[in-house]
Symmetry: C2
Subunit: 335 residues, 2 copies
């Protein structure tokens, strides 16, 4: 499907949601989308395939009878209440990458709290050029524009805050025990269910904007073989299906409140909370992969900017700016 079609089907979905209690005439829909009535009919079919129950009323029009758990802006906004994050939501049934789209919006002046949501990504991206597996309709693929008054050196604080926001939202809904692997992987039982990719545009002393990409595995029932020993989902861990709408709303709400807190009181609160929650904060034996090399050591807390300190086996204290860490001697899990 080309992008225009995707956007028109999305517009149709939102039109159906907005008029959920009434019958909308095919003519009205065709006019608003600027397409033919037979095109409308095809797209209604497409929404039915996605799980929407849409009643066709002969000679009158269409009525939405049941909505699946699609991240329609109107529905997510209901969760958000009075938050300013999510006042503008761009929703896609399918997109290349929510981060790429949000970056374009930010370059064109998109304000803080602008959100891009997609039901699926064709080229979802993760940290360090990796892919992010983005099964349609199962996960949350979300990017938020942030415009903090921070120097780039303090950027890591934002990603710690994003990890805490998702964790708090999941805690509110489930009883799962979670860990945070530095900097921002959310883990259950040693497997990852949420990844965060923060991309920033900055002058040397001043962040212009950060696009905070958040991918959450919610209702996945399986993963490709290559990652199944590393990845999990809330459904796999609980056996239950969870509302992506509720989780998206709650995590955006919480992210906004953590960002506000950081503006007022600085980053120490974030660092303290992250350190309480993460087993990786201190005294954990880890293997560090950074800048093409790797070494073993013991974690020794975060610095004031959110970078991890690791005491190497040779005694040197090193600050980890980039790369990834793993629990040392972590057994490779069988899929």
């Amino acid at each position: 499907m080309d992008e225009i079609t995707v956007r028109k089907i999305d517009k149709l979905l939102n039109l159906m949601v907005d008029n959920a209690t009434v019958v909308v005439s095919g003519e009205k829909i065709a006019r608003e989308l600027n397409v033919t009535r037979s095109q409308v009919w095809q797209w209604v079919e497409r929404l039915r395939n996605l799980g929407c129950e849409i009643q066709g009323v002969p000679a009158t029009g269409y009525r939405l009878k049941k909505m699946p758990d699609l991240l329609a802006p109107e529905l997510v906004r209901r969760e958000l209440g009075t938050s300013s994050f999510g006042k503008t939501i761009h929703h896609f049934l399918e997109i290349d990458s929510t981060n790429d789209y949000a970056t374009q919006l930010a370059i064109s002046g998109g304000v803080e709290g602008t959100v891009v949501l997609a039901e699926g990504q064709k080229s979802g991206r993760g940290r360090m050029g990796r892919q992010w597996y983005s099964e349609p309709l199962k996960g949350i693929y979300c990017s938020v524009i942030l415009r903090p008054g921070l120097p780039p050196a303090k950027g890591p604080l934002l990603t710690l805050a994003a990890a805490l926001a998702v964790r708090d939202a999941v805690c509110r809904m489930t009883d799962l025990k979670m860990d945070i692997r530095w900097p921002n992987d959310l883990m259950i039982g040693g497997k990852k269910f949420c990844g965060i990719l923060a991309e920033m545009s900055a002058e040397v002393g001043r962040i212009r904007f950060v696009v905070m990409g958040i991918g959450v595995n919610v209702n996945h029932t399986s993963f490709p073989k290559e990652i199944s020993h590393l990845a999990t989902s809330l459904k796999l861990e609980t056996g239950k299906t969870w509302s992506r709408i509720e989780l998206t709303g709650q995590m955006l709400k919480r992210l906004e409140s953590l960002c506000r807190e950081m503006e007022k009181a600085g980053g120490q609160g974030i660092i303290n909370r992250w350190s309480e929650i993460s087993s990786f904060a201190e005294h954990k034996r880890v293997e560090v992969h950074s800048n093409g090399t790797s070494f073993f050591g013991e974690t020794a807390g975060l610095d004031e900017n959110g970078f991890l300190r690791v005491k190497r086996d040779d005694g040197c204290l090193e600050t980890i700016y980039s790369g990834s860490i793993a629990e040392a001697n972590e057994p490779v899990k069988e899929s």
Copy 2:
């Protein structure tokens, strides 16, 4: 002039430079630029107005007899010798902003050392959203793509290196005494003649690219009233006209060598050299403007990332991440 015209005239210039010893037929030029011969004639006039002496040989073609100090890629490259910086140079007679163009190149995969040069900028930009006065043919308006293996926190080191590169290039040509005001303003007698705008795109732990914009006032003989008490040029300070080609080549060469040094040996060398040269490094009474407030204090050296430390009058040691500093009680100079 539209961008295509600007690019074609530029192509014409480079064609004339490449064939400087021979007569190039108008037909050949028209074919290579894919325009009419009367268009070629108009553009040759335009180059003549810029100072090119171009001989018209009746019924044969055109020959370049004398080149003004235009930053034609072939000429700049001669200064560069074997350097890898400047292997690709995009040259414009006029551009909106060299940084904007270089950013687009970097997004599309432009390699480290790719250079954008312009004879003039319509919307030259400086730090913190300010304008950069870009009088055509008088200054150097240059942007370089860097792809250092550094975390964003270490970005300031690059801008210190860029200031050192320009300073070294100017030192090689003139006897001027220069100062560097943190982070990277090059000053002569309290007035600024070079400004640097580093813009980066990064993941939280990893710089993707930096566009290093360098503006140098070379042969300006005057400045607009609003900035004439703040700005100067090499010509105003020495009474002489300087080769922009030579200066551009030398500063790119030096920037490359400082970047290589930093890759191998880290940033301490840059910090040491900057601190030797700048009167702002230590024990200088300054006024700091940062994040909408200002305060007085005394400078107390750079930290390991190149940020300036200032001891406030209330005794607190503060690290300055963004904003600007000025010598305290600096007399306002009359224009």
